[in-house]
């Protein structure tokens, strides 16, 4: 166990390429039991994106391949996670089966170019909605609000409940990061340890050199996914990072359609089921209250 | 010198001060010392001569184990030379050595060169060591150089300082490894004079040299070496006037003709 931990950590700082990172997340999260329903008699106005996609019977979706719980490529070469399930729900409403979705890996830096160049039809990839991005792409959703959260040792020995505990514990984050700034600004007396990377914080937490790691819950989720025996997520985000579905700028019909689908999924429980089968299973947290979509 | 302990008892019985018995040494394939046996009595002055490469310097360096030997026994005052370590260091302190290239400690003054051993090895006080050191520098004729560093002295002065450094340890025997070979001709005699006076005072000496004048004047015995072997041992008078071996005759003819 020791050795594996060690190689994983080395990999995290880039010394070992391929060792130790194959994640257990796939096994834990699995694919949802309930297959997403596929609309069999979908009818759309001619000329809309929806009509084109429904007729083609396929959709190209950009998602992350390296974010456990949200979008992580499986050994079978298909991505798994909450973002992936959301994309399946939307595809289903277009009459496209999950097997007919074409997945394209999109990292943070190429999401906008993919949409602008038409290489993907939509992006579901832990994509935070903000005003700068709205200049070049449009967002449906949000379908999820991520936020700064806290990861502690499994069992939460110090009974950490939220940021108010920062005054009494050793908390770890990354130098120059927004989450670190949040702690510095709101809890100036906190015993804050700053590393270059979150993976180092996770190691320090494992070694009892710090008591907690704080950053976006999505990042923390991946650590819990990799080592659920060591880590536990508090699961109470205290900042807001709304995740939206990116569509090409100006395609208001498609955006509105996706918003309808999302709202329906909030209502009929498929959204919560998607959560429970993916990120929720990894972090052992119940589905949060669905956000309200922003039809700007 | 204290008069108890087995060492001194052995000396009393007339045992040689330095004894080499069946010594063999190789540098790789080169057999540099071949079956050397040699006894040196207390107070005796031995001059070792021979062509370069004959092993005479190596022989000299083996006596205080600056070189180790593969076979044979070397005893100093009856004691077998120990392996590298504290015991060997203690034994070396009783053997003075003068090198061809002086080897004065470059970062220390002449006086510090002479007092280092007495203070660090003999445990003498600084004042005591300095008093004795100045006496010795006086004796070798460089008392006015005491506070200079070696590089400020001439070669002859440096070598005399090196002799004083060795004497400061009150050695039982002094080894001289070609002490004048690195000197300009005009400085050779100042060093040889010091050595002659040491010999007169009864110091046991092993001198590797090409100075035949010194050998005639001061040696009790001349040892002639060639190709790692002792070829001939004789009094200087006999050796220089009637060498027995052809190799000694050949060697002498080469160095004495010009």
């Amino acid at each position: 166990m020791r050795v594996r931990r060690f190689t994983a950590a080395l990999a995290a700082i880039g010394l070992v390429g391929l060792v130790g990172c194959s994640s257990d997340a796939g096994d834990d999260a699995g694919t949802p039991d309930a297959t997403v329903p596929v609309e069999t008699d979908a009818e759309f106005d001619a000329g809309t994106t929806m009509a084109d996609l429904a007729e083609a019977g396929t959709i190209t979706v950009g998602t992350k391949f390296d974010q456990p719980g949200f979008g992580l490529i499986s050994p079978q070469d298909v991505p798994e996670g909450f973002d992936v399930e959301i994309a399946k729900i939307i595809a289903g409403a277009l009459g496209i089966a999950a097997d007919d979705i074409e997945w394209i890996e999109s990292v943070s830096a190429n999401r906008e170019p993919f949409l602008q160049n038409g290489e993907v039809d939509m992006v579901v990839a832990t994509y935070t909605i903000n005003d700068e991005r709205k200049q070049i792409v449009d967002f449906a959703g949000p379908y999820y609000v991520a936020g700064q959260d806290i990861m502690v040792a499994a069992g939460n020995p110090l009974a950490v409940e939220g940021p108010e505990s920062f005054a009494d514990i050793r908390v770890c984050s990354v130098t120059g990061s927004t989450p670190a700034g949040y702690v510095q600004e709101n809890f100036p007396d906190a015993d804050l340890t700053l590393f270059a990377e979150y993976s180092l914080c996770a190691e320090a937490l494992k070694n009892d050199q710090v008591d907690a790691v704080t950053t976006d819950n999505v990042i923390l989720t991946s650590f819990v996914a990799q080592d659920p025996e060591s880590f536990e997520l508090i699961g109470a985000p205290f900042t807001e990072e709304p995740y939206g579905i990116g569509v090409p700028l100006g395609d208001d019909e498609f955006r509105s359609f996706i918003n309808d689908v999302l709202e329906a999924s909030f209502e009929d429980g498929s959204w919560a089921a998607a959560w429970d089968a993916t990120a929720g299973a990894i972090t052992d947290t119940p589905a949060p209250e669905p956000p309200s979509v922003d039809r700007y | 010198m204290s008069m108890d302990g087995p060492t001194d008892k052995a000396a009393d019985s007339g045992q040689p001060l330095v004894s080499l018995d069946g010594v063999n040494k190789w540098f790789g394939d080169l057999h540099v010392l071949q079956d050397i046996s040699l006894q040196i009595a207390r107070g005796e002055v031995i001059v070792v001569i021979g062509p370069s490469g004959s092993g005479k310097s190596t022989l000299c360096r083996c006596i205080n184990r600056l070189e180790s030997v593969q076979e044979g026994e070397i005893r100093l005052d009856g004691v077998l030379l120990p392996e590298e370590g504290k015991a060997l260091a203690r034994l070396r302190s009783d053997v003075g050595m003068v090198f061809q290239s002086f080897n004065l400690f470059a970062h220390k003054t002449i006086l510090q060169n002479v007092t280092l051993g007495p203070i660090k090895v003999r445990g003498k006080s600084k004042a005591e060591a300095e008093k004795r050191g100045r006496e010795l520098l006086e004796r070798v004729g460089i008392s006015n150089q005491a506070d200079k560093v070696p590089a400020q002295l001439s070669g002859g002065q440096q070598q005399r300082a090196a002799i004083a450094r060795a004497l400061a340890m009150d050695p039982k025997v002094m080894l001289f490894d070609e002490p004048t070979s690195a000197l300009d001709p005009e400085m050779i005699n100042e060093v040889l004079d010091v050595m002659v006076s040491l010999a007169r005072d009864g110091m046991t000496m092993v001198v590797v040299t090409h100075e035949m004048g010194f050998a005639r004047k001061a040696a009790d015995r001349v040892v002639f070496m060639d190709h790692g072997k002792i070829v001939e041992e004789a009094t200087p008078e006999t050796f220089f006037t009637a060498p027995r071996s052809d190799r000694a005759k050949d060697f002498l003819s080469k160095i004495l003709t010009h």
Partner: protein, 217 residues
């Protein structure tokens, strides 16, 4: 430059941490490195082998990896430094001592063999001849390269702050840059200046030591 002035207290504290880390590691690395050099020239084969192995292992390992091993590797053998500052000093000392060892060893080799022979011939032990005769001369020749190592060490401390949880100058830089995005250049210039406050006088001091300890040969 306004951000630098506004955060002077934080910069001062980071500066002191960087200085403390540099000085502690320099002292330890110089002592340990010299000991290792003594190992490498000693007559005892296992010590020589240990010295050589240490240098080969440490000198060929990235400093970041040394930090990683000290902070996260040692706890797996139940050796945990609760203070990241101490861990950083250990990592920097471990790393720098390998370089000190090689510089001192080359210095030892620059002292003629005759010096050591003469020292042994008057009865000094191996340790005494190193201490009294060889190392003092070796150090004088290695002052300039040692100075380079010390200055490199000061800059290497930035790895501790930038990556490994020590609140020094380097750790401050990204935080200040985040809070003052318009003044990033000024902030980094200010931090660089603070490093120079340590390194430039060190270089001058090394020059003075070098002149004072020069020996005639």
């Amino acid at each position: 430059m306004q951000a630098v002035l506004d955060n002077f207290a934080a910069l001062w504290s980071g500066f002191l941490t960087t200085l403390a880390m540099s000085v502690s590691a320099a002292v330890i690395a110089t002592i340990v490195g010299t000991l290792l050099a003594a190992f490498r020239v000693s007559p005892i084969p296992p010590l020589r082998a240990f010295g050589a192995l240490y240098v080969q292992l440490v000198r060929n390992t990235p400093l970041t990896a040394v930090f990683f091993l000290v902070i996260f590797g040692l706890p797996s053998v139940d050796l945990t430094f609760q203070s990241f500052f101490v861990a950083a000093v250990v990592a920097l000392s471990v790393y720098t001592s390998a370089f000190v060892c090689e510089v001192v060893r080359s210095g030892v080799n620059s002292v003629s063999a005759g010096q050591a022979e003469a020292a042994r011939a008057i009865g000094l032990t191996f340790g005494q001849s190193l201490r009294e005769v060889v190392l003092p001369q070796a150090f004088r020749t290695v002052v300039p390269p040692l100075g380079n190592i010390w200055i490199a060490l000061v800059k290497n401390t930035a790895i501790a702050g930038g990556g490994f949880a020590v609140a020094d100058l380097a750790q401050l830089a990204p935080d200040l840059a985040r809070d003052n995005p318009a003044q990033v250049l000024g902030i980094f210039a200010g931090i660089a200046l603070a490093y120079m406050v340590i390194t430039v006088p060190s270089g001058i001091a090394v020059g003075i030591i070098e002149r004072r300890t020069a020996i005639l040969r």
